[in-house]
Assembly symmetry: D2
Homo-oligomer: 407 residues x 4
């Protein structure tokens, strides 16, 4: 028997609050870069372990410190003065022994650095990885205790910690719009046509009753922006594109503000949000794991949130990762498969050392559509949760296949 509880939500859903605040840090924000690297390292290590040993070995690489570099952006060009420094920490198994007694080494540092650089290369188009970044690795080997817990031959791993994950579904209109806005501006197609828009895009959505204000901070790539006029035209262009998106996504009225800190009295670079690489990590803004988006891609103070950094944790026994991802999946499935669910949020709490399919509690709060009661849907929801818990190790496979968002 798993400790599953279904309760009627006494909380209102965020969409009904008079005021709603939603934030997303784009993939090029220093915190998101850190998250992305942490997850890329974990995923690459997991795959390497699986290839070499047949299963994922212990690791947690959810600690990345990005120290900003220094740059000298100029309209039409500019240069990097000092590279971005990226410190990878955490721990990972660097040796394994086969049944035949042979011990093999795993090049953890090499693999981690490769994974981090390849991620950067794919993610930040205008960043020169070779000379514009320094990636250092101080990943240790973890304490023996931790590894003991990890390698027990149970089919179901034991929880590494007492910790919890949360999830909710569906998104409100504000949440949806904030997410879509960043995703559009950072999509491959968009970048092709608008190479001047960097990946460091922060979208802050404020809904006051029926009016949404989107405040967007978007780094421009200096070599594609010839002068102040070009910059201002480009801002207008983005504004129009976001307005079109908003019209498509919501009926609420939407106002968009872009780079509001710009000082148009300035004739040179100093008044505008100009970067050489498209991310403020090149100068002034540090980043680290777990300080930005939650695992559904958003920061939502009106909603339940977990403080756990999902990115970089191992997908085998680290409940701080697994239960967050699981809650996302469960709430999504419940909403789409169970009739009458208007909103669901849930929390799953582990107890250290206990099998991860047996949480201390897995509790869902559900707001039903008019005409439905909790009693009517409880069984269906319970079954879905139970099945996910039963198949909890699937999360690891989804993660290895890159199917799960963590930022």
């Amino acid at each position: 028997m798993r400790n599953i509880k279904i309760e009627k939500a006494v909380q209102n859903i965020a969409a009904n609050d008079e005021i709603e605040i939603v934030e997303r840090k784009g993939i090029g924000h220093p915190d998101s870069i850190s998250d992305g690297i942490a997850e890329a390292v974990s995923r690459t290590l997991s795959r390497t372990y699986k290839e070499k040993v047949g299963h994922v070995l212990h690791h947690n690489t959810d600690e990345v410190q990005l120290t900003a570099g220094e740059s000298d952006p100029k309209f039409g060009g500019g240069q990097i003065i000092k590279p971005i420094q990226i410190l990878l920490t955490g721990r990972a198994a660097n040796e394994f022994t086969l049944p035949n007694g042979e011990t093999h080494k795993v090049g953890v540092d090499y693999i981690a650095i490769e994974a981090a650089k390849k991620f950067l290369d794919e993610t930040i188009i205008n960043l020169d990885i070779d000379y514009g970044t320094v990636v250092e690795c101080k990943i240790g080997q973890g304490s023996a205790d931790l590894r003991d817990v990890f390698q027990r031959p149970n089919a179901i791993p034991s929880a590494n910690d007492t910790s919890f994950g949360v999830g909710f579904y569906p998104l409100t209109e504000t949440e949806n719009l904030v997410l879509k806005t960043e995703e559009l501006l950072n999509s491959k197609d968009f970048k092709k046509d608008h190479p001047y828009v960097g990946e460091d895009i922060k979208v802050m959505g404020l809904r006051e009753k029926d009016e949404i204000t989107l405040t967007i901070a978007s780094a421009f790539v200096s070599k594609y922006v010839d002068d102040v006029d070009a910059y201002l035209n480009m801002k207008d262009e983005i504004n129009n594109i976001v307005a079109d998106l908003a019209a498509k996504e919501t009926d609420l009225s939407v106002e968009t503000l872009i780079n509001t800190a710009d000082d148009e009295t300035k004739k040179d670079e100093s008044g505008y949000y100009l970067t050489v690489t498209g991310t403020s990590a090149e100068m002034g803004d540090d980043g680290s794991v777990g300080r930005g988006n939650r695992s559904n891609g958003l920061i939502t103070p009106n909603r339940p949130m977990s403080m756990e950094a999902t990115s970089g944790k191992n997908p085998i026994n680290h409940v701080g990762k697994i239960y967050n991802l699981l809650s996302n999946e469960i709430t999504r499935e419940v909403y789409s498969d169970v009739e009458g669910v208007k909103n669901i949020d849930m929390v799953i709490l582990s107890q250290i050392g206990k099998p991860i399919d047996q949480p201390r509690t897995a509790t869902a709060h559900i707001q039903t559509e008019d005409g439905y009661t909790i009693d009517e849907i409880e069984e269906d929801v319970t079954r879905i949760i139970d099945r996910w818990l039963e198949n909890i190790t699937d999360i690891k496979d989804f993660m290895l296949e890159g199917k799960l968002r963590t930022l």
Copy 2:
């Protein structure tokens, strides 16, 4: 006119949920150590600036990466193998020019390292700061833009970013108990009598209806624990002490679980939570800023939370710090001064470049005691909020005097 709104809370308060989860990472948890260092560095820099220039200069030191060391704890002793590595990043003004044209240097790196080490020395009793830690400083000088914004001669600084803070009051019984438990176990008096209890204490509270389960992970200091028997007796002792505290603080039933990952079949160190220094940072657990407690000392998924790291940000114009601290202060005062308020939470949202006393919105959600209406209390609450916003720069002074908790 400040954009202050008072609304009736449509959300239930956490205390009424059937399930409630509350967590606190003790002062010796690697994430809390990172927070504490970040704030200590900011406070020391602020004081130095004030002393030398008359006012606080630009800085944000809210990035600290703690990389775990390596240790070899033994019952009755043990040794440090590899020190804890602490990387300070962020940025801070390292020069200022007096009205007479003289330029003076500020030894930012020296000051930051001194502040970090002194904080560690005061906080982690059994950590050998000299040889058991390496504190490196890569604090940069920040971008010129940021500093421009900072030094505008307005009485009221302009917001450094579009960002928000949240707060709520009062604490539920679970929240209160979790907080008090850690504070007791880490109090000076308690440590005198129980030197074997390290500072790395994580308290996870789960309330299911009327029953609270406190799961405590508490690092023991190896030199004070002679053997397994001593260890188990000490666990009992803590258990009793926490039971007494619980009895005093709440009428709910409370069960306490301590170091549940211990494996009592083991006769040596490997089965127990033993450390040389009292913190898991000595081996295996990294830490960084902003991943642990919110600025009221707790992690509360049933409550509004901000993702902003409060610790280490400058108290002048960084709304990610100021609005969180302000929300805490406001909700506390409203609750204590306005009759009829059962629970209040609030959110304050800035707009980059606008004076920080003029937020984009400052909205309070209030649940009233039976017999009271929002209309009756709205004016009082508004006045309190308005007065705090008017005197918003007081936050800086409170912070300089060390009066505000950030972790």
Copy 3:
């Protein structure tokens, strides 16, 4: 009048000693790699300064610390476990102001890292620069004093220090053979046919009267060596090649010993000098600047030597570099242009703050061929020395063009 002195050498020349020891650390030895990087960084910075400002600005990049990585070489393959860490230090001007008052930045860190990586890429064929090295830059800006001295508008710069350089010519047969051996084994043509020979080749020559023993430590590249037999055959091959070279270069009898620490009782990698990359820097051997070859490419205890690291010092006013290179050039020219010179060594000593063309002393010791006296050749030698001192700034140009060996 320059303080030039010509003296009869009372010292014997090394070639006449009964015992002579000569060593060369090949271009892939960790110390030589460090020297090479230091010089590449200085040369690249010098060119950049010249391009941007019209002349070379202050810098000294003669401090590089290479920390060995970790590897797992296997016959026929192997992997890198941990990258080689390379720390660039020293100082360099990172800003300059044009006559029109405009201040420009120089991306010293970026340029230095680029120069170091490109040098590695060209020098160590089988080293994976991207993921197998971490190049960090802590080059500072130097003290204002130093820079003052540097920028005085004299045609002839002032000496940065009280320091000396030495040189001698011609090489003895042992010296010549040691140098030629390494140069052959590290030549492009040789590598094409013998890709299994790494760049980390140390040649120690011992001449006892008429017999030379060459002890060669040569790292093999594991992927080109399938097994122990292949390895042993390859050693034989090298042995033959060196024997042929020796026969061509000297009439003395020459014995060659290669990788004498090999343990042929071992059937696996552990008994042989096998590396993934061709340099022991991948595992176990650190390196730093100035600990290997002197600027003529050799370590010669029977000859005058300077302790100054030539590589990485600026070619404008750092006499520790300039006077060593100058002594090499002068002695070479004297030997080839002045009849009757059998051997010449010389020392040039600066005095800090004085023009570098006015050394405190420039003294040559000359051994003449039978039938010649010092008096007969003194004038010619003096003229050559004087002309080189007069044109001392040419050294900078030769260095910029890459014409001067420093290791």
Copy 4:
């Protein structure tokens, strides 16, 4: 039979050259600090190993990179801006297994950092070790090969490398004076009376026939120097003291020049050699191991020298250390015990893998006093050399007891 050879020196001794150059970098010079730290770390590790295991385990800690900090010296005070960064590298055994099969850990990083800081504390009086230095440790574990060689149970260890050491005795008058000058200015007694003289003292001696010029660069400690006048008086004071010493030590005429780069037209700090700590490592001057004094304390281009860094190498099998120290001891003893020896220099060359008491060659070149021949003394000298080689492991004990100078 050891390969010992005694030859008549065909070389003149340095004292007879018309020109002689001798240099000593004082204990506070950045290169000497690096040497001193390297040796302190090796000595402390050796003692720890001996205490725990009964004998010294494998290590080589002869790589230290000191990166200069930043300071702001002022007459009468000043401050440290940025600490001196010290990177310890090399390798050392961090585990050993007792005959009973128990494996114990050695806290290499902790021990190394402690040794380095304690050395600094004892050596540089005015350096604030706690906040004015950052000591980081990247000491690895060495390759398995190296450790194999090391742990063979022979009474006499095998040479770790093909390498040589050199030594000579006695010192010339110039050599003696240069050495004594620095030793006096850095003696405890002198510092008591002249606290304004820092430990970074470089002495360059030039002898031209009968005239010696001592050029001294001596860092002053700013807090003990109130103004320019005080500084100039102090320079005079040092000058007088050195003159007195010279009169006592030599009959040659001696001129002393102190801080000749000073610019007395300057009224502020910028014209003088002023430091907060007494070493230029605080600002502008980096340092590393093996670039300064040879193991007899001097740099002597007129004499045989080895490029090997003696400091930090293990005293068990690293011939680069042992043979240099041994040559110093042997030549000293030969000179004092064998009548008729005017000057002796010697070289000892190892062959990797062979017992260190069986060098490839140990050759002494001797210049006899008038009336003596090599034949007469050969036997005595040979016996001394042979006895030292027989008891070569004594070098380790002398080193552990701190009896041998390495810089």
